[in-house]
Amino acid sequence: MNQLSEHETETLLREGLDRLAERAPDGHEVRNALVRARQTRRRGRPRLALAAVAAAVIAVTAGVPIVLHAVPGEQVTAAAGRPVASFTPGWLPDGFTEQYRSSGPGITPQVRRWFAGPGRITLSAYSTADPDWSQTALRIAALKDQVVVGGRVGMVTGDTGTAALLTWMADDRHVLTVAVEAVPGARAVAQDVAESVTTDDPVRVRGEARFGPLPGGLREFSTTVQGDSPGDGSTALDASADTAPRVAALHATVGAGSPGLGGTTPIPVRGGTGAYRAPAGPLEGMVAVQLPSGHWLTVSGRQPQDELVAVANAVVLDPAPEYGWLGTD
C-alpha cells in the first residue's frame, strides 16, 4: 500500500472533516431543550404581573397594536406532500401522549392532539390568509376575557372549569388555539401550554400514503396521522376543491382497520380485487382494497366509481411512515 504524502493526508483530513461536519444535526432539539429548561425554572416563579397584563389589555382595547414578543424561531411552510406542524408546546400536563397530527399545504390548519384518559389537549394553527381566521385580531380585541400569551393578547372562551379554548395571534400570519377538554383547571392548563409553544421544533406529518394524481379541480388538502401507539397508526388524506370553500371532497385512509364491506361489489383495484360501494343517501361512494401490508386502503367521495378507483390506484404508499411518535409525550 502506498503511503500518502503529508499534503495529501492533510487535504484528505480537512475534506473528510468538512464532510463529516455536514452531518451535524440542526439546532432545533437543543434550542427546544434550552427553552424547556428555562420554562421549567420559570414555572416556579410568580406568574406575569397582573399590572403588565392589565397594561397590555388596555393597549389593545384602545386600538394600539402591541407586539411585546413574537414566537421565536423560523416559520416552516408546509409543502404539498410533505406537510409539517410548525408549532410545538414545550410543556404539557403529565400523562398526555400525542396521538394526532394533521397538516397540509398552504392554509391548511395544523393540528396536534394529546390524550390522557378522557382528557384532551388540541393545539391548532390557522393561517390569517384563511378567511375564517382573518379577523381574529379584531375578535380578540373586542372580547373582555383577555390573557397575554408570549407578550401577545389572546382570549379565553368556553371556560367551564374542565374545558377552555385559548386563542391568540402567535404572529401576524398565524392564529393559534389551545383547546383543553376534560381536564381540571382547564383555563390555567391552556395558558401554560400556550405560553410554552414555540416554532423551534417543527414536526413532519408523514403517513404511510399520499395522493397521486387527483381528479380535475381537486388538490391535496391535508394529511392526518393518528393512533395511540406506533403499531396502531393510520393515515388519512383529504382533498378539496382548489378554490374556496376548501371543503374536503375526497378522502383516503390507510390503516389496519377493515372498512365495512356490506353492500359492496368486487372490482379490480391496484392489480387485485377490491370492493366498491355506490353512494346512497348520506353515504359517499367507497372503494376499498387490502394492501400487501395487510392494511386497508379506502377511498371515498361523491365522485363516480371510475374516479374513485383511479385515485385508489394512484395512491403512493410510503414504506417509511413516521409513526414512532404516536403515544409518546
Partner: protein, 181 residues
C-alpha cells in the same frame, strides 16, 4: 482558523446566553459532530454543555473558549463512560440521520476511508487532529483545550498522522459508490 459560528461579536465582548446560542449553536454542533463522529452524541453533548452553561452564564469569562473546552471534555469523558453509545460512522447510520433526499456527497471515497480510520484513533489524538485540521488551532491553543503542553500536542498529532498516512490509500481518480448502492 475555522470559526464556530459567524464572527458576529469579537471574543471577550459580553453576550447574553441567547445571543451566544444564536451565533454559535450551529458551529458547536458541527464541531461536536466532527469530534464525536456521531451526530446524536454530538447533539447530546452540546445540549448537556449548554444546559449547564445556561445556569451560571454570568460567571463565565470567555464563553466561546469555555463552551468549546466543555464540549471537548465532555466528549473525552463521555466516550470513557458510555462506550455503548458510540456509533461509528457508516452509511446506514449517516443515512438514517440525513434528510430523505438523495445526498450526492455520500459517495464513498478516500475521505470516508480517512474518517473511518480517524474513528479508530485514541480519543486525544482524534481531538488534537480535529482541533488542528477542522478548527485550525495552533499547538498552544490545542494544548489549552486538552490541558497539556504544546510538545504533547505535537506528539499526538505526529503519531496520528503517521497512522493515517500509512493506512489510507492515495486519492482515487474515480469515485466509487458505497454500501448504499
Amino acid at each position: 482558523m475555522q470559526q464556530i459560528g459567524p464572527p458576529a461579536r469579537p471574543e471577550g465582548v459580553t453576550t447574553s446566553f441567547d445571543e451566544f446560542v444564536e451565533d454559535r449553536l450551529d458551529g458547536l454542533l458541527r464541531y461536536a459532530t466532527v469530534l464525536t463522529d456521531d451526530p446524536h452524541l454530538a447533539q447530546d453533548i452540546v445540549q448537556e454543555v449548554l444546559l449547564r452553561a445556561q445556569q451560571h452564564w454570568a460567571k463565565i469569562d470567555s464563553p466561546p473558549t469555555y463552551v468549546r473546552r466543555m464540549v471537548t471534555n465532555e466528549y473525552l469523558s463521555w466516550r470513557r463512560r458510555a462506550v455503548r453509545r458510540v456509533v461509528p460512522s457508516s452509511h446506514e447510520v449517516l443515512d438514517a440521520l440525513s434528510p430523505p433526499e438523495a445526498d450526492p456527497s455520500a459517495a464513498y471515497d478516500a475521505r470516508d476511508e480517512m474518517l473511518a480510520l480517524l474513528a479508530t484513533l485514541p480519543r486525544k489524538q482524534r481531538a488534537a487532529i480535529v482541533l488542528r485540521y477542522y478548527e485550525g488551532y495552533s499547538d498552544a491553543e490545542i494544548g489549552e483545550v486538552l490541558r497539556c503542553g504544546a510538545s504533547t500536542v505535537r506528539s499526538q498529532i505526529s503519531r496520528a498522522l503517521a497512522t493515517l498516512r500509512t493506512c489510507v490509500r492515495p486519492l482515487p481518480t474515480v469515485l466509487t459508490t458505497g454500501a448504499g448502492e
